[in-house]
Amino acid sequence: MILQRLWRRIAAPIDPFLFVLVVMLICFTTVVQLSASPDRWQAQMINTAVGLVVLWTAANVTPQLLQRFALPLYVLGVLLLVAVALFGQISKGAQRWLDLGVMRIQPSELLKIAMPLMLAWYFQLREGSLAVRDFLVAGALLAVPVGLIAKQPDLGTAILVLSSGLFVIFFAGLSWKLIAPVLLAGVVGVGAIIATEDRICAPEVQWPGLREYQKHRICTLLDPTSDPLGKGFHTIQSEIAIGSGGVLGKGWRNGTQTQLEFIPERHTDFVFAVVSEEFGLLGNVGLLFIFLLVIMRGLMIAANGATVFGRLLAGAISLSFFTYVFVNMGMVTGILPVVGVPLPLVSYGGTALVTLCLGLGILMSVARHRTLLQK
């Protein structure tokens, strides 16, 4: 009787559909990490357990409560980013961490959640009286932390934070008349860069507003062989791993590229190369399908959200999840620049896992809030 009630209490906030997908991903991750990095398997299990607790907790928090956290979290995050810029630790050429004596924290990680929360809260505030001015304010709220993160520099996180904010703005109803030209300009710009690669990648050419390493990264993407032992090495080796995997893959723990350490960061950002090599096209499409279901479920939750805040947040979280997947798989397969974006729930690492579980928990919370209202 008590057990039954306890079970109900535990199961109550859980969205069964999303949860099954998450469990499938966790099982898959365990199998992949056992191959990619057997030593870290147990640590990843602990990370996963922590992530699930965070997920469950977040699912229990009502959107109304979350709304109250939005502004303080955002302000705290921006202040911490400023602190990083002023006193942060420099590691591997980037200033990302704050040393608080007991622990080192990476404030940019906080913004991944605080940013969509903040903008969803802002648009909720302006509900029914949305004006162009509000989009400008939202843009400014977005630009500050993104600028600070990009300056660290941490391109991967900057992209994730920027996209999470842009998704909120998009769902809030930014006019297609504004979106379309920007998208078009983007497509034309990328096309132009690819077309003129030889000239603009010449060593003496400096790119306005970008650092040398950023230019280098994009140029390496355009032609990985230009830096075969540096950044291009990642791409070249992961393409070999993926390509040699074929349709059925080489089998679990049989990936030569992986097992022989040709894949750098094979357990973190490049874990997808391991999947591709060992499970082949079949494994890739299967994994992509699970991700697709997660995103679609998220978008469904968003579509049925009870409040503007809930809808925008759920939509942004779903598309952020998509961004993780797309950017990560894109960089591993060599169609996007190499930026530090993990593959959700598959890459090893505690921080990203907790952030993602927090997002999934929020999704469940939004989903549950709707059902509560309907009841």
Binding site: G128, G243, G246, V285, G315, L319, M329
Partner: protein, 626 residues
């Protein structure tokens, strides 16, 4: 400012969600098409690349073949020793690293110089030795400090060693690091190039060079699975190397040793040949050098010392340097006279002590002459006048044609490189040799000097010994060779270098006997009698004294000029005269009369070879002992 009802708001939001869904679909479609491109369409290409990545062929260098003398005395071998090696590509500040290393292990200036030289001719990812032959203590000291020196390793390498040191160095030659020119030559031949992967030493001179292919062996390969850092993970397959073959020489190390010792500190050359096979028993060029110095790359001080020495120890005097044969030419002239019928053995001339030709007087050593001189006496007393007149009668063409049959003026074909052809003078040779027309003409007077082994005559001791061996064998000429057989170290299968009769010079046995008897006379009561007093065997010989110094490239230190203007002493011999087992030619540079300095060397060599008798006093140490 636009106001919308919540319903409109939700409808628009759902529109956006739908758009987002479509966008997600399109992007994922893009990813899937990328997967298909990489994993289906380009699968074969990437599979090949993955294989290339993973498997690395590591060459296993074969052990170089041994060189042993005819009795099994080891003359060249390999031993394993530790080297301290630096991979320059893995080190930022090379000089600082070497300085720091010098604090742990003794590194001398010459080691640094040698390393710098290696560095210039190598690729930076190659591991290069800075110190060879570390002691166990040095190895231990380095290992304790290894963490300080990334890019520095200790490796075990096989080193070539010539245990007898300076012994027979010109015959053995030496090995050294493959230089650019040699590398190019190796790479012209694909098979050879593959076989030399991993090999960094090659024979540079002597037998090490001429039998390089036999000595090197076949490189083995290990297929090793490697990671991206190039670290070996595991071995997949192994093709073992085939060790180089062993050279068993015709050379008799003890004989060679006695001969070398007999020279003392004099310069010169000696070649001893088995007349019945062409096998070379001893091939001496004095002074010698230590080929061990070259194995690791010779350091500049030693190189300068060897290269600038007035004694020119690096010159292979036995086969490269050529000298006028002096009177040792006379038995061959006499043989030629018999063969061409210009003289009979009994025909005698009256020697007044000189020979007049064209208003010029050609003098004999002995004032007043030797009186009546027949062929035997002409050899025994070394009568110049006899040969002046003989040469004049034969004419230069007949001399060149007949003497040429004994191999004079052409390479003997011995199986080591660097042989000179010498000069058997003839009008044709003169025409080719000189550029100026006035020097191209052959003068009859020049023929006269040729008759006594002077003039343009110039032969290597190899040729002289070869001709002597041919004379000893009654005209049967064998190709001289140093290697008796080549042995496979695994199967012990032998490839025997069979005695190779080149030709038989048509000399009548009775004519041979005349010459042999006369040469026996030389050692019994002629110019070689003192040296061969009391010999327990019958040895045939002929002394010679050559007036012209013609060691090529020689420059003289002024203080040595006096000594170095003295005549060269020569001696040829074979024994036992009735059935010759050994024939030899000796030259002692600036040794004066052949009878005084060259013949005693021949005596010691023959005493040992025929009787096993070692010279008294300065007994050479036992070969094989270190």
């Amino acid at each position: 400012m636009e106001f919308k009802t919540p319903e409109q708001e939700i409808a628009r939001f759902r529109g956006r969600v739908l758009a987002a869904g479509v966008f997600v679909f399109v992007c994922f479609g893009l990813l899937v098409s990328r997967f298909v491109w990489l994993q289906v369409i380009k699968h074969d290409y990437y599979s090949t690349r993955a294989e290339d990545n993973r498997i690395s062929l590591v060459p296993i260098v074969p052990n170089r073949g041994l060189i042993v003398d005819r009795n099994g005395v080891v003359l060249a071998r390999n031993y394993s020793a530790y080297t301290l090696e630096i991979t320059p590509g893995r080190i930022k500040d090379l000089d600082a690293t070497i300085d720091a290393l010098a604090g742990v292990i003794d590194i001398e200036a010459k080691d640094r110089k040698r390393f710098k030289k290696l560095l210039e001719e190598s690729k930076t990812f190659e591991s290069l030795p800075i110190r060879n032959r570390l002691t166990d203590e040095e190895v231990a000291r380095f290992v304790a400090q290894r963490y300080r020196f990334p890019g520095v390793d200790i490796k075990a390498r096989l080193f070539r060693q010539y245990p007898e040191g300076t012994f027979a160095s010109h015959v053995l030659g030496y090995i050294g690091r493959i230089n650019d020119r040699e590398k190019q030559r190796i790479e012209e031949d694909d098979e050879r190039a593959a076989n030399y992967r991993g090999t960094d030493h090659i024979g540079k001179s002597g037998l090490e060079q001429s039998y390089e292919d036999e000595l090197h062996g076949t490189t083995g390969f290990e297929q090793i699975e490697v990671d991206a850092g190039g670290r070996a993970v595991r071995s997949l397959a192994r093709t073992p190397p085939v060790p180089g073959r062993k050279l068993v020489l015709t050379l008799d190390a003890k004989l060679q040793k006695i001969a070398e010792a007999a020279f003392g500190n004099r310069r010169g050359a000696l070649v001893a040949i088995e007349p019945g096979s062409g096998g070379v028993l001893a091939l001496v060029s004095m002074p010698t050098f230590d080929p061990n110095l070259f194995v690791d790359g010779i350091d500049p001080q030693n190189w300068d010392a060897l290269n600038n020495s007035p004694d020119h120890p690096l010159i292979q005097r036995a086969i490269y340097a050529s000298y006028p044969p002096g009177s040792t030419f006379k038995p061959f002239m006499a043989t030629a006279a018999l063969m061409t019928g210009k003289r009979s053995a009994t025909q005698a001339i009256s020697d007044p002590g000189f020979f007049w030709f064209g208003g010029h007087q050609f003098r004999d050593d002995k004032k007043g002459g030797h009186g009546s001189v027949d062929m035997a006496k002409s050899i025994i007393v070394s009568c110049d006048t006899y040969y002046y007149s003989l040469a004049n009668e034969m004419g230069i063409d007949a001399i060149a044609r007949t003497l040429g049959q004994f191999g004079f003026g052409s390479r003997t074909g011995i199986d080591i490189a660097g042989e000179a052809s010498g000069v058997l003078p003839s009008p044709e040779w003169k025409k080719k040799h000189f550029k100026k027309p006035e020097l191209q003409k052959w003068y009859a007077g020049e023929t006269i000097s040729v008759g006594i082994g002077q003039g343009y005559n110039n032969y290597t001791m190899m040729q002289l010994a070869h001709a002597t061996a041919t004379l000893a064998a009654g005209g049967v000429m064998y190709k001289p060779h140093l290697v008796k057989y080549v042995q496979d170290p695994r199967t012990n299968a032998r490839r025997v270098i069979e005695p190779q009769p080149l030709k038989t010079i048509p000399i009548k046995p009775e004519h041979i006997k005349v010459i042999h008897d006369a040469m026996v006379g030389v050692n019994k009561y002629g110019t070689g009698a003192r040296a061969f007093a009391g010999a327990q065997y019958v040895a045939a010989g002929k002394t010679g004294t050559a007036q012209v110094f013609s060691l090529k490239g020689a420059k003289y230190e002024s203080h040595a000029v006096g000594e170095r203007l003295r005549d060269h002493a020569l001696f040829i011999a074979f024994a036992p005269a009735e059935a010759p087992k050994i024939a030899l030619a000796i030259l002692v540079e600036n040794g004066g009369f052949g009878a005084e300095s060259a013949a005693p060397i021949a005596r010691q060599v023959l005493d040992y070879y025929l009787l096993g008798k070692e010279p008294a006093g300065a007994a050479p140490e036992q070969p094989g002992a270190e």
